[in-house]
Amino acid sequence: MNAAKVPSLRILETRGLSKRFGSVQALSGVDLDIHAGSVLALLGDNGAGKSTLVKIVSGVHRPDSGELFLDGSRIDIASPRDASTAGIETVYQDLALCENLNVTQNLFLGRERRSRGSALWRMFLDRRSMEEEAERAFEILGTRIPSLSNPISTLSGGQRQAVAIARAIVWQSRVVMFDEPTAALGVEQTENVHGLIRRLRDQGVGVLLITHNMVDVFALADRALVLRQGHRVAEMDPRRSTPDDVVRAITGSEAAGVRPS
């Protein structure tokens, strides 16, 4: 995709992100940009710097150098809180759900809505409005949840995935990063997650998909970015590449169809 042609779609950009852990240069000057309503796959072998990149954008690590831009203006993400305030949500592989809490409580965890009124009243939760919002989110995802007041422990794996992703809708996140979303899933569940990610993308959300799975890349990604040893080595269009091209970029053997960047 030509970024210059549609500059207004660009939500999040990183410029020259670098991070060193001791003697290991985990990330060296990585640029990437995430566009609204589009899926960017981030690929690379173990230790290529994918997780480091995600952790910097989600506020877990601070970069040694480099900048982040949201809607073209520079932002500072010093903590996970800052990331969620900026509208950047991360869906972890383990989903980070509290199984003992119910669906609504999980969706709003850490950002609960309080009742309106006097100071005393504001101490209490506004359950009704949270439930309505939750229903709306599942409507958008097209997922049926047996009951919003049932604990997560009673839900199926697919429903749990939907709950983790519904968070992004409830928070009106602009960017959602998925960390290996299908790594532990079977075929049917993978299909389910792909469906959920597509619906999220259709809402205009910018999706960053960290994955090892070629099926994910070719089913979902509009662009694919390959990292190797902390460097950005290739950006490719999955519609014009083959899985072989991608694998070659990841492992480092030169290949046709790969545009060095």
């Binding site: 850490g110 047996p146 389910n192």
Partner: protein, 403 residues
Amino acid sequence: MSQPRPRSEPVVSAAPFKEKLQRISHGELGLIPVLAALLAVGIIFHIASPYFLTPRNLSNLTLQVGVLGVMALGMSLVLFIGEIDLSAGSVSGFCAVALVLLSAQYGLPGVLAIGIAILCGAAIGGIHGKLVTLVGAPSFIVTLTGLLVWQGAQRMLVGNQIGQILIDDPLVISIASTFMPFWLSLTLVLIIVGASLIYCARQLGSNRFSGAADRLGLIARSMLFPVLAILILAVLSNHLGVPVLLLILACVALVLTLITEHTAFGVHIFAVGGNAEAARRAGINVAKLKILLFSSCSAFAAFSGIIAVSRQYAADGNTGGGNLVLDAIAAAVIGGTSLFGGRGRIQGSLLGALVIGTVANGLDLLGHSANVKSIITGLILLGAVSVDMIARKRRIQSGAAGA
């Protein structure tokens, strides 16, 4: 799985009553086991002793349950986050002795002495919490240390004084020996009845409760507390009236219930108990929350020590000792609180304390020794944990079955 569904069908379907039944069948038993246990021990002792259900004995029972009840409520808070506080008994004893010394030897007014004792408890709990979160030591070990340290400190405070240190501060003594006048009790009962009726009427108006079963369930649920309050008033007015201590216990339970079940902080407590890592990622300050709860638990322990002083007009090196802390943990567990964290209710712990108190009271009436009490309480605890483990299996199965 995410199948497209017709627009007209609501995302969330189950009605409250159906939902409840479904949850029970999935092993979410709630307060059912502890209510059943309470009913069972009540019936057994009523059959075994003609004195059990007399106003005089029930009045005694409510007073006896105060110390354990307050400690069990505080204990629930740390159990909710998957921690434990073995030091609550020692802390309660230490603060009780501190209270008596402040009042009897240093002549501090009751209000001030009570305030200092509770702050002292809060500070001690804060230290425990800090050690748990900072050092990362298991709370079992930290509070076991606390148990030993504060018990030693309590005995050092008592020093070489022989026997009990007496207290004659009117405020401290009045806590456990004052009964409310009838008009006040009646007013409170009327407020409870009125509030429940308003709640019930408002809920019936909402479209959530449209089915007949749902409406009936709602009415039954809203009538539980008014009926209980009327019964308590009716029985206890035949003796000396409703003890102020019962009102204090009810207020503590009410406030803690509102906090744990209706505030964001309450959700965070259970989130930390269920999955601390997920809570941290959601931006919750887990360490701060844990320290606050350890601190509250010890403050409630101190308060239970104050009630003990108020009942005995004295404190000594053994106040807060014996089985008290284990009974408090048992009360919470009988009430449905999980030792693994993330599961339990304040009302459950209160009812659990009532079960243990009733067993102690009933066996006293029948003239059994403390040894028998200990055995019976242990067996009830075993029963409660077994019920919970079976329910837990059900929960895990129903979760897995849906996957």
